[in-house]
Structures are given as structure tokens and as C-alpha cells.
Amino acid sequence: MEGCELHLTIDYVGSSGIILSPEQKAALQTSLVILQSENKFKKVYFWGKILGIKDDYFIAQGTGKDEMAERRTFYSKDCVHWGLLPPATKLVRETSKLAKGRFTGDPSFEFEHVETKKVGEGEDATEEEETITIKEEDRLASVIAEIDEDVKIVPRASFIKTPTGLVVPNRSFEGLTVSEAAKLCSYMHFRDPKLMLEKSLLQKANLDKSIDFLDTLEDDIPKGSWSLQFERGSGLATLRSLLWLGYVFYHVPGSRKFGSVYVGTGERNLDLPFML
């Protein structure tokens, strides 16, 4: 959710148990503005909080002109001092998946993963143990990248793709209607499309190229990995991801107000298929 309106928008997700203490709100309000001007971001977003055992990480993201491609992630433990997270490369993301358990709250902590490998062939095979260490800072960066890729969503038509390929906010977006807001196909993954490429020409025939350039939630596997609920009558639509427990998206139908936040342990819910 946008940093400059955080104190107002955080109330929209309060019903999901996401609360910032007044002290944190005050600190974020100041420090995010400083972060924005120091790094010359166009916009700065409060991304959420990752709960550690000893301490929590507050995460903020700054974006440039293209909201999808130019994104940098920062973390802080006191909401005041922000540190830049290393980029989550493919290799880092692969190794981070091996780390088990909760975040500790110390960015320099190292998770250890012991992998047994078979060396040699036939009877000469011996097992060799290889220890892989994963730094918590790297794991944090890759978990954030994973969450962004898996569940970061926006309402349909809130962003458009310009002919030059830039993804920018749609200035004429007036919000979803209530009946649209009740359908999963009105929300889209804010990532480079994956499933869109697999669609047939017939399916793509009715799509608007500048709007429907993203994957919709309807195609998500497994079905039912989103919990869509209305609050305040139909004045607020809330989507909670069941894959990443703690990811909450809100949209006020009929207005430009939408946003999302993640407050959780930073662990993917792999038990999802059993739980539905």
C-alpha cells in the first residue's frame, strides 16, 4: 500500500488482524518520505512485515516510472533506518528454498542445509555430506520476490501497458463495480504473465491488449487458493491468499483505492491442498 497514505489505508486491512502500533505508523510516515526523496523514487510502497522469532522485518518498496520492472526493496527493523536488500537472483532463490523454519530477525544469521550426495557408482558409492549456508538477508530477498510473483495482485484495468512496453497506472481507472469485485477474474497478478502465453488465439480474441496483459486469478491452481470476502456491506472487498497466509489485498469498489500488504512468517503454505 502506498506510503504516503499509509495511516489511512492500514485501517482497511485491520479486520485481517494487521495492525500497526501508533509508534510504527508515526515512524513509517516520516521515514518513507525520506526514503522516497533520497532514492528519487516515483512512489514508495509499504510492502508489509515479515515476522521473525526475535524481531520483525518491515519491508518497503520503491518504484520508478515502470511500476513492474523498476522496483527496489528495502528492509528495516525499527521503521526508521532502511537497508537495501540484495537482488533475488535465480540462484539465490533456488538455494533459499532449502532453508527451513522461521526467520530469526537477525539479517546476518545463516541457515544451514545438509545435503547428502552419492559419490561414485555401484558398490563404491559413498555418501558425502555437503553443507549449504543461506544468509537470512538473501532468504528475505528471495521470499519477498516469491510473494510478489505468486500473489501480488491489482484490480483489472488499474494498470495499462503503453505501446512502448511501460507499465503505468491507468489514469482513467475508476474502480471495479461491486459485481465485478465479487469475481476473481477482475483481479490480476502483477507480474510478467506466465499463463497468458499459453492461451489460444480464440481465448485472447476478446482481450484488450493494453489492459489484459496480465494473468487473472481465475486460472490459479489450486482453485480456491483465494478467499474473497466483502466487508462493510459491499463497501470493501478483501482478498486473502491462502497460499501465502498473511497476504491481504483490499479494494474499495467504485473508487481508485486498492492495495495489498503481507504480514506473516514468510513461509509458503505447502499444506494448502490438504486444507481445502
Partner: protein, 496 residues
């Protein structure tokens, strides 16, 4: 005619006036007086454009006449109500503290929950009410209230409910009996298998000490959750399912869960309460009088310690956590808080079944034991290598006025705060226990043997012709020997 002096016009005038003079049955006033007051008022005040404001004048006049006949009575009623002790908690104050800790729900929602709790207090005779927390479902969420009835009140309500339930059960029973008779006619084979004895539930104790009400939205009716049985607790431990938000939804799972979602919710609530309801050390103490009565068995009653002075916040957030205690009984693996011996009851049954070959008397099972009530959190088991609780101050900038807040890592979403003499627990989450490993459903039990394998059903090798011949010869010999004996006997008898 007796009244010739009155002409028809006058007659009409009189009847019209008497009509206008009729007093209204609702308010006790009549239109004639009202119009005359209005007109007097207009003529006195001479307002401009009187045609346009006539309604207002009429309304004003009516309002000035209105006196509430309830007014005095209400005031008199309200005063003692304010003085009387209400079980309604000061939710806003608690919400304030939780907000400092950065947990809980937002303020507007708390107010709505508060109103809903007030409604609950007004409709039931309760001794104690708490906002237990919120459990998210996929379609709707549950708001949970934890209540204790005044003594005797619950029975009354239950009796009413049971009367209805019994009616249903009776019909079911009859159907069941009929079914059995039919089965006998068909002479279907009956399985040898005897299910293990059902562990009886604890009534008004252990997991059923408190009653829980839930609603999907503050303002919707509160629904009382059924009592939890040990079987439900043990089954709930081995499954992990999302709540849907509909209490009557079936719980489709393996191993099968006995009951629907309301039972599952109730089982999870009592597990969460047992695991995460904590209070500062010394806030509660055991009742000294009861101590003597119950020896050996774990004590399950405690009273508020009136001399509790409060523990400094710095000591509360100490990582050893020895200043916090559990004030809800631990639930044993059996699903009860007090262990129940399954063997005792079985003895009579064993005597009845004399035909059955004497089984080995099952060993006296080891009584399951859990930590006693008011055990410090420092005794809690770790989750893998992870501490089960995380404690912190609400503010590092102004620690002098900070409060202590503590989050459960075992049940993510369970929080508690304490400052001075105040403390509270709340749960906001999906209602699942944390485990480092992924959930894997228990494997299917091994297939039972159809028959005990014995000589009757094992296939024997056919005898060879030689063996048959030998057997035949042996038989013949035996027969001859018998004949000889008979003859000998006969001879003997002849001699006599």
C-alpha cells in the same frame, strides 16, 4: 321534534364540533383544542407566509404538549444498572493496549464486536464474558466469545435444548433398532472387531469448562458451540483444514472427523485456549481450601489473587518467560484434561465373554500426565529448535511507559499483553498450529486379517497312495482287534 329551535345548519355545526372534540385514543388530545392553540399562536406571533409554515407550527405545538410517561421511570431504572456489576469487559481499553502491541483488530471493528457482546450479555444470564478472538474462514470469519454462565443458568437453557434434541434422538433410536432386527433375519456375518471404548467427555470441566458463542459478523445472532468430546480433540490434532465460515459445513478429511465444522471449530478453540491462554505469575492462585480436598489429582480451580501487585514490565519480557503461567489446563493426548482409565470399564465385559479364549489382560495403561495448571511458560516444549514464545516491549523509544507483549510461535496469531495488573489474551488467525515440517496425513492402517490362520483353512498336501494304504491297513487292524475283544468278552459272559 323536541328541538325545533335548532335548524339543520346548527345541527351540522354541532355534530362537526363534537367530531373535532373527540379525543384521540393514542395521545389523549383533540383536534379542536389543537387547532385553537395553533391559531392563537399564529395570531399572537403573526409570522410571515403563514401558509407555508403552518405544518411546523402545528408540529411545534404538538411537541410542546408531549410528555414522556416513561421518563421518570427510565431514569430510575438506569441508575442501578450502571452500578450493578456487568460482565461486559472494557473492550476498548484492551483494544488500546493491543494496538500498542501492534496486534488485534482495528478500532471500529472492536466497537462493533463490543456492541455484539453487549447484546449477548443482555440476552443471556452470564457471569463472565471475554472476546476470545477472530478465526478466518474462506467464505466468512468467526468472531468468538468466551462466556461462563451464572450457576444454574446453563442447566435451564440446556434442558430446553435437550428436550428438543431428545425428541429427535428417540426417533433415530427406533429406526436403529428396526435396522438391527432386519439384519438378524438376513443373518449377515458380524465383525469380530470391537472398537476401543469411547473416552467420555468432561462436563463443565477441562476443555468444556467454558462455553463459546460464535457469530459471522458482529450483530448477527450468536450461536452456541456444542461441547467438545475427546474424540474430536484427538481427531482435530491429526487434520489440518481451513474453516469455511459455515458452521454446518462438513469436515471432509482423513482421518474422518466426528462432527461438522462447529465441532471442529470448538475443538480448535479449546486446543488454542489450552496452549496460549497465559497470565502473569501470581495473578491467579490456587484456592487453599480446595487444596486439601483434591489430593493427587491435578487441581483445576484457581482464584484471583487479590494481593497481586503486578510484575514490572521488564521482568515480563525476560526471555526465560518464567513470569508468565498457563491458566488453562493442558489437554492430554487422550483429549481430556483429567486422565480417564479405559481399562476399568472393560473388566465386566471381559467376564461376560467367557467363550473367548482368555486374552491377556491388557496391561494397566500408563496414566497420561501433563503439566499442572499455572505452570510457567519456561517449561513449554520448544518447536524444533525454535522458542515457543516471543516477547517484546511495545516501544523501544519510550520503554518507561511500554507494555509487555508476547506472541505465540506455536499458534501464530495468539497474542497476550500485560501491564501492571492488566493482562489479556486474544487470537486472530486461521486456527492452525505451526509445525516446521509440512503436514502429511496419517497413513492408512494395515488391512485387517480376514480369518485367523489355523489348520482348518490352511491347505494340506494330499496323501500319497502309500500313505493311504498304510492308513487303511492300520484301520483294519484296529477293527480286527476290536472284534477280538468283543468276542473275548462274549465268551467270558457265556462262562458265567
Amino acid at each position: 321534534m323536541d328541538t325545533p329551535s335548532i335548524n339543520p345548519k346548527d345541527q351540522e355545526y354541532i355534530s362537526a364540533k363534537s367530531y373535532l372534540l373527540q379525543t384521540s385514543t393514542d395521545s389523549g388530545f383533540n383536534l379542536y383544542d389543537h387547532l385553537s392553540t395553533c391559531l392563537t399562536k399564529i395570531l399572537d406571533e403573526r409570522p410571515e407566509n403563514v401558509y407555508d409554515v403552518f405544518e411546523d407550527i402545528s408540529k411545534d405545538t404538538k411537541r410542546s404538549k408531549f410528555t414522556s410517561n416513561k421518563g421518570e421511570g427510565e431514569d430510575a431504572d438506569q441508575d442501578p444498572e450502571d452500578d450493578a456489576e456487568t460482565p461486559l469487559p472494557n473492550l476498548m481499553e484492551l483494544a488500546f493496549y493491543f494496538e500498542q502491541a501492534g496486534v488485534g483488530l482495528n478500532r471500529e471493528e472492536v466497537i462493533r464486536v463490543w456492541m455484539a457482546l453487549k447484546q449477548l450479555v443482555d440476552t443471556h444470564n452470564l457471569q463472565h464474558v471475554r472476546f476470545w478472538g477472530k478465526v478466518f474462514g474462506t467464505e466468512q470469519s468467526y468472531y468468538v466469545a468466551e462466556v461462563e454462565y451464572r450457576e444454574g443458568e446453563e442447566e435451564q437453557e440446556e434442558e430446553e435444548e435437550e428436550a428438543e434434541e431428545n425428541a429427535d434422538e428417540d426417533t433415530e433410536k427406533e429406526e436403529g433398532e428396526e435396522g438391527e432386527e432386519e439384519a438378524e433375519e438376513d443373518d449377515t456375518p458380524k465383525p469380530d472387531f470391537k472398537p476401543p471404548p469411547v473416552v467420555p467427555k468432561e462436563d463443565k470441566a477441562g476443555p468444556n469448562k467454558k462455553t463459546y458463542f460464535v457469530c459471522n459478523d458482529p450483530g448477527k445472532p450468536w450461536i452456541k458451540l456444542p461441547l467438545v468430546t475427546p474424540a474430536q480433540v484427538t481427531a482435530a490434532r491429526s487434520i489440518k483444514k481451513f474453516f469455511t465460515g459455515r458452521l454446518d459445513a462438513p469436515v471432509v478429511s482423513y482421518p474422518p472427523f466426528p462432527g461438522n465444522e462447529s465441532n471442529y471449530l470448538r475443538a480448535q478453540i479449546c486446543r488454542i485456549s489450552a496452549g496460549t491462554h497465559i497470565s502473569p505469575l501470581g495473578f491467579y492462585q490456587f484456592d487453599e481450601e480446595e487444596e486439601e480436598e483434591e489430593e493427587g489429582e491435578g487441581r483445576d480451580n484457581f482464584v484471583e489473587n487479590l494481593d497481586f501487585e503486578g510484575i514490572p514490565v521488564k521482568e515480563l519480557v525476560d526471555p526465560s518467560l518464567s513470569n508468565w503461567v498457563h491458566h488453562v489446563q493442558h489437554i492430554l493426548p487422550q483429549g481430556r484434561c483429567v486422565w480417564w482409565n479405559p481399562v476399568q470399564k472393560n473388566e465386566d465385559e471381559f467376564e461376560d465373554e467367557e467363550e473367548e479364549e482368555e486374552r491377556e489382560e491388557p496391561d494397566e495403561p500408563e496414566p497420561e500426565q501433563g503439566p499442572p495448571l499455572l505452570t510457567p511458560l519456561s517449561e513449554d516444549a520448544e518447536i524444533g529448535s525454535m522458542p515457543p514464545w516471543t516477547s517484546r516491549l511495545s516501544s523501544n523509544l519510550i520503554p518507561q511507559y511500554a507494555i509487555a507483549c508476547i506472541n505465540s510461535n506455536l499458534w501464530p496469531g495468539a497474542h497476550a499483553f500485560a501491564t501492571g495488573k492488566k493482562f489479556e489474551n486474544v487470537y486472530v488467525g486461521h486456527g492452525h498450529k505451526y509445525s516446521q515440517d509440512n503436514y502429511s496425513p496419517p497413513s492408512v492402517p494395515a488391512i485387517m486379517e480376514e480369518f485367523p490362520s489355523g489348520p482348518e483353512i490352511t491347505e494340506a498336501e494330499d496323501p500319497t497312495p502309500e500313505e493311504e494304504a498304510a492308513l487303511r491297513a492300520a484301520r483294519q487292524e484296529a477293527a480286527e482287534a476290536a472284534e477280538d475283544m468283543e468276542e473275548a468278552e462274549e465268551e467270558g459272559s457265556d462262562e458265567d
